[in-house]
Symmetry: C2
Subunit: 348 residues, 2 copies
């Protein structure tokens, strides 16, 4: 057969579903979405679904514009940040020069570059697993940085990103802020000075809506319009009617989400200390997960033990630098207490 | 700025929303989705949304497999048939030879070919606006046919498609069956003999779920696996949890949809006769729309008149062969009676 594409796809974390499981392997939020999401759902008339969903997603854009203090035309909405990022690669990375991203980061960047045949170069994280911006000085066709980075959890400050954006003013720099609501600050204030900055966000983590598939980009209207033209050339209605209405309700309930985000950060810091008590070493996380290692434990075996105890964390056999770590999402305090208890038992 | 993509996107029909409007411009279904969709919605616990949606969409695949008498591994589910088609272009059209599709057909085929830089050739419909398969004999990298075709409404029989598939056995032939539930037969029985056949379906039209964004492909497991690998390389979770559950409920209620589909076909044939009484000439439609023209009327003016009367139909200023036609979706009998009444008034 002619013309068949062969490609190595992204491998997501497994999605087990067993009674009583503690699922802390894909950085989902342990708390339910805002009660206002449930209200909108309850009052939704299914007859609405016979019509196409909104082309401009204006209701959701307006809610997000209020939240982030930007204009609706600075926003593009997609089916999860995965779709927004995929469209961004198509929209902005069309140069002959390679795009740059860290060797250890969200695994999908490499997959999209492969899929769209975009030349790319992976820049190794430094010895402390941090991004060193001085390693990004070569000629390039664009840059993608997750901030905080995943699966390390490490964060770059706005000051750092500001000078980085200045240095690369001739290309689009995507800053993937999937986890930023668990971090000290967003790069949003840099937008005005840096038209080359595209920030990508998701409602999957901080808004407890992984199953609803809503993400968005924030940037200069000129480049957001390019992103919209790619969306309109691929799948113009990718955000369904229910997803838009429920996401809008979530975005409008900032108080609820502030509360659960604070809770998760407190649990994360508590969990990190408890791990330290057991001689684990964890990278300082500004996300809803912890990347942790232990000198005397085989992490793959610990991963398997926990799975046998109905606790699902993430183990990466590749790349080699990660295979001595586990990435553990932050669940509720009760869940993390159970995890500490099981690890303690395992170590005895 | 380096690397910015310029592209002419697909232009969808407008989505007006005024009180009392008759919206018959984007081939939506005038009837609500099955009552079982409303039931599932009512009982849906929004806390489910904190988890990622299903990666394999197995519940929906099983329901579709039962409906179509195929195996679940012959099915790939996507965010509307637009996403399924876009992924299919990426999966199957990677040859140096141009892909072929009619010059008058679903406008998105050209847009995807452009977006993915796939060489293509548009083959003119014949003088009766039909697809003439003898015009498709040149070397090609794949073929896309909408059957029934849009916006013509014309249908090719399984016998015709069978010999066409045999002649092009070395490439993938996509048959887009978006409207097939309003036509005399599906190409499903041809799948067993023709591994090069990929059928694409949508729940937007016949299942009254345009706003939910669910479509699917049916084909040989070997090529469906390629399509899944593209989905997993782009946006693995594109069908959200609500969409999958509601779509499954819809697919399982065949009796309801048979009833409303029959109703629409009866209204279509009645409407076509009424138009003929007013000296309109319509192509014989096997869809939920009618493409119609009139020797003495300017169709753009009629389109504008109807819009001013809160009736929205579709007018294509391009291509030239279409600009003497209107495409009118079939609404309820009451809606179509109102349309006939307004056209009669206009002609006086």
């Amino acid at each position: 057969m002619k013309g068949i594409r062969k490609i190595a796809p992204y491998i997501p974390g497994i999605q087990p579903s067993t009674a009583g499981m503690i699922k802390i392997n894909t950085n989902e939020n342990p708390y339910p979405p805002s009660p206002s999401v449930a209200d909108v759902l309850k009052n939704f008339d299914s007859e609405q679904l016979k019509r196409y969903s909104s082309l401009d997603n204006l209701a959701l854009k307006k809610a997000l514009a209020r939240k982030h203090d930007v204009h609706p035309e600075q926003l593009m909405i997609g089916n999860g940040s995965d779709e927004v990022l995929a469209f961004s690669f198509l929209a902005f990375f069309n140069s002959e020069d390679p795009i740059l991203f860290p060797d250890i980061t969200y695994g999908f960047y490499k997959v999209w570059a492969d899929l769209f045949r975009i030349p790319f170069k992976e820049i190794p994280l430094n010895s402390t697993f941090d991004i060193d911006f001085s390693d990004y000085e070569e000629l390039n066709g664009g840059i993608v940085i997750a901030n905080p980075n995943a699966p390390t959890g490490l964060f770059k400050s706005a000051e750092n990103i500001h000078s980085f954006l200045q240095k690369h003013a001739d290309v689009i720099v995507i800053v993937d802020e999937a986890y930023v609501e668990f971090a000290e600050e967003s790069m949003l204030p840099l937008l005005e000075q840096h038209p080359n900055l595209i920030i990508v966000r998701t409602l999957s983590k901080s808004q407890s809506l992984a199953g609803l598939r809503v993400g968005y980009a924030i940037g200069a209207p000129e480049y957001i319009a390019v992103l919209e033209s790619i969306k309109s050339s691929f799948n113009p209605y990718s955000v369904d009617t229910l997803a838009e209405q429920l996401a809008t309700a979530a975005v409008e309930d900032e108080a609820y989400y502030q509360k659960i985000t604070d809770e998760i950060c407190i649990t994360r810091d508590w969990f990190s200390e408890k791990l330290a008590d057991l001689d684990f070493r964890s990278l300082p996380s500004q996300t809803n997960f912890i990347l942790s290692t232990h000198n005397e434990l085989n992490m793959e075996e610990l991963y398997q033990y926990l799975a046998s105890e109905n606790i699902f964390v993430r183990y990466f056999s590749k790349p080699e630098r990660l295979n001595k770590f586990l990435r553990i999402s932050i669940g509720t305090r009760e869940e993390m207490e159970a995890v500490i208890e099981k690890i303690t038992q395992y170590m005895k």
